[in-house]
C-alpha cells in the first residue's frame, strides 16, 4: 500500500514534469535562462512579502498568491522595459537588482514580524520555498497545482508554435502581422506562473536547474522538435519519479537528487560530445 503522502508527491511530480518538460525546450531555444533565474528570484521576494502579509492578517494561505502576483508583475515589468528598446539582459538586470534588494529588506521586516507573533509553521514554510518539499504537499496544494497546471499546459500547448516563431524571428512575426509583444508577455507570464505554482514542491534553489537542463539535454540529443519536447518530458518525468523513490528510501530531499541527476546526465553528454 502506497502511503498517501507518497501518492500526492507522485501526482505533483507528474504535473511538474509535464509543465517543465514542455517549458524547458522553449527556455533554451529562446535563451530565457537569465529571465528564468530572475523570475524565480522574484518568487522568493513574493513569498517573503506573502509571509509578512500572511502573519499580519493571520492567513498564511495567501503566500502563494502574493508570490504569484509579484512574479507576474516582475515579468511584465521586464517585458515592458524590453519593449522600450532595451536588451533582455539589461531589462532583467535593472529589475533583478530591485528584486534582490527588496528581498533582503523583506527578510529583515519578516524577522521583526515573526518576533512579535507565533511563527512555528512559517519557519517550515520558508524552508520549503527554498529547498522544496514535495512530501509535505497538501491536498489543497495538489488541487491548485493540477488545476493551475492544466490551464498553463493548455495555454502553452495552443501557443507553442507562436512561441517558436517568436524565438526564431521576432521581426519576421511582426512583419507578417503577429503581435510579438503579446506573445512574449504571455510566455514570460507562463514562466512566472509555473514557477509560482511549483516552487513549494521543487524549491527555489533547484528550480532554475530543473527548468533549464531537461531542455538543454534534449537539444543535445535531437534536432527534431517533437523529439526534443518528448525527450524533455520523459527525462523530467523519469528523473522526478526516480528522485521521489530515492528520497523515500534515503531520506534525502528529492529536489537535491533531481538536480544532481540532471547535472550528471548533462555533464556526461557534454564530455561525450
Amino acid at each position: 500500500m502506497i502511503p498517501e503522502y507518497l501518492l500526492r508527491a507522485l501526482l505533483a511530480s507528474i504535473m511538474i514534469s509535464v509543465l517543465l518538460g514542455m517549458l524547458s525546450p522553449l527556455i533554451n531555444m529562446k535563451g530565457l535562462a537569465f529571465l528564468t533565474h530572475a523570475t524565480f528570484h522574484s518568487l522568493l521576494f513574493g513569498a517573503v512579502l506573502g509571509m509578512i502579509l500572511g502573519l499580519l492578517i493571520g492567513n498564511l494561505g495567501i503566500i502563494i498568491w502574493v508570490a504569484l502576483v509579484v512574479t507576474i508583475f516582475v515579468v511584465i515589468t521586464i517585458a515592458e522595459i524590453e519593449n522600450r528598446g532595451f536588451t533582455s539582459d539589461t531589462a532583467i538586470g535593472i529589475v533583478s537588482s530591485f528584486v534582490a534588494g527588496a528581498t533582503v529588506l523583506g527578510f529583515g521586516i519578516l524577522y521583526k514580524v515573526m518576533a512579535s507573533r507565533p511563527y512555528f509553521a512559517l519557519s517550515e514554510s520558508i524552508v520549503s520555498y527554498l529547498t522544496g518539499e514535495v512530501f509535505l504537499i497538501t491536498i489543497s496544494d495538489l488541487e491548485m497545482l493540477i488545476f493551475g497546471g492544466f490551464l498553463l499546459f493548455l495555454l502553452m500547448l495552443f501557443l507553442y508554435r507562436n512561441f517558436l516563431y517568436v524565438s526564431f524571428d521576432p521581426e519576421g512575426v511582426e512583419s507578417y502581422g503577429g503581435n510579438v509583444r503579446a506573445y512574449l508577455m504571455i510566455l514570460y507570464v507562463i514562466v512566472g506562473a509555473i514557477g509560482a505554482l511549483i516552487v513549494k514542491t521543487v524549491g527555489l534553489i533547484t528550480l532554475q536547474v530543473v527548468a533549464v537542463l531537461p531542455g538543454a539535454i534534449a537539444m543535445m540529443l535531437s534536432d527534431d522538435l517533437r523529439k526534443i519536447v518528448g525527450i524533455s518530458l520523459f527525462l523530467t518525468l523519469s528523473i522526478e519519479i526516480l528522485s521521489i523513490f530515492l528520497a523515500y528510501a534515503t531520506n534525502i530531499p528529492p529536489s537535491g537528487i533531481t538536480t544532481i541527476l540532471l547535472g550528471v546526465i548533462y555533464g556526461a553528454l557534454t564530455f561525450k560530445k
Partner: protein, 262 residues
Amino acid sequence: MEAVRAENVSIYYDGYTAVENLTFKLEEGETLLLLGPNGAGKTTLLRTLAGFHTEYIGKLIVFGKHPLEAKDLISYVPQSHYLNERVPLTALEVVAMGGIYKRGFVHFKIPNEILKSAEEVLEFVGLKHIKDKLFKELSGGQKQRVLLARALISNPKLLLLDEPLSALDPSARVEVANILSKIKNEKGITMIITTHDVNPLTEIGDKIMLLNKQLVAFGTPEEVLRDEIISRVYGPLSKAIKIGSKLYCIIGDVHIHRGERR
C-alpha cells in the same frame, strides 16, 4: 502607380541622425538597389519602410499609405544570420510563418491551405524537395531562398530585402539573384534591395540609390554607376566598368563616410 514616395525624410536612431533629408520616388514594379557603406543608413531606411522604426520626420508613403498602415502590403526579408537557428524549424514551417498571422492569434496547427501555399512558393524558388529539411541544415543560398518564399506567401506588393547576398559564395549569389529576377519578371513585385555587391543585381535594378547618411545619387544604373559618383562614397579606387551592355562596379576597400569627405 507610385509604390514608395519619400519627401524630406530624416530618420533618427538612438538620438543620432541615421538618414538625413531623403527624397525619392519608386514606381510600382520597379526594383531599387540601395548601396552604401556600413553605417550609411540602408537598413534603417528599410526598417522604417517596413514599419519597424517610426522615429522619423518628413513624408513617407507606401502605396498611398503610412508604412504602419501598409504592413499588409509589405514583406521584409532580414539577413539570415539574424535568425535564431536553435529553434528547429523545417523549411516548410519557416515559409508557413509568413502566412499564418493573418489568421488570428492562436496557431496550434498550421492550416492545410497555408501548407499548400507554402509548398507552392517553395516550388517557385526551386526548393520544394527540401521542404522537410531543418532550416539550419540548409546552405546559405537555400536559406535566403526559403526566406524569399516566406516573404512571397503573403502576396506582398513591396518586398524589402536586407542584404540578401551577404555571406554567400559567388554561386549562391547567382542562385539568389536568379530568384529575385524571377520574382520581378513573373510576379512584378516592387523590390528594394540593400546590397554591398551590386554586380549580380544590376540586370534587375531599375533604379540605384547611393546612400551615405544622405542621398548621394539616385537614378538608373547608367546614371549612378559612374566613377565620379561611386568614388565619392567608396574612394578613388572604385570604378564602374561596362562590358557589353552590362555595368559592373568595382568597389575598393575604402569607405568614405559623410563628414570624412575631402
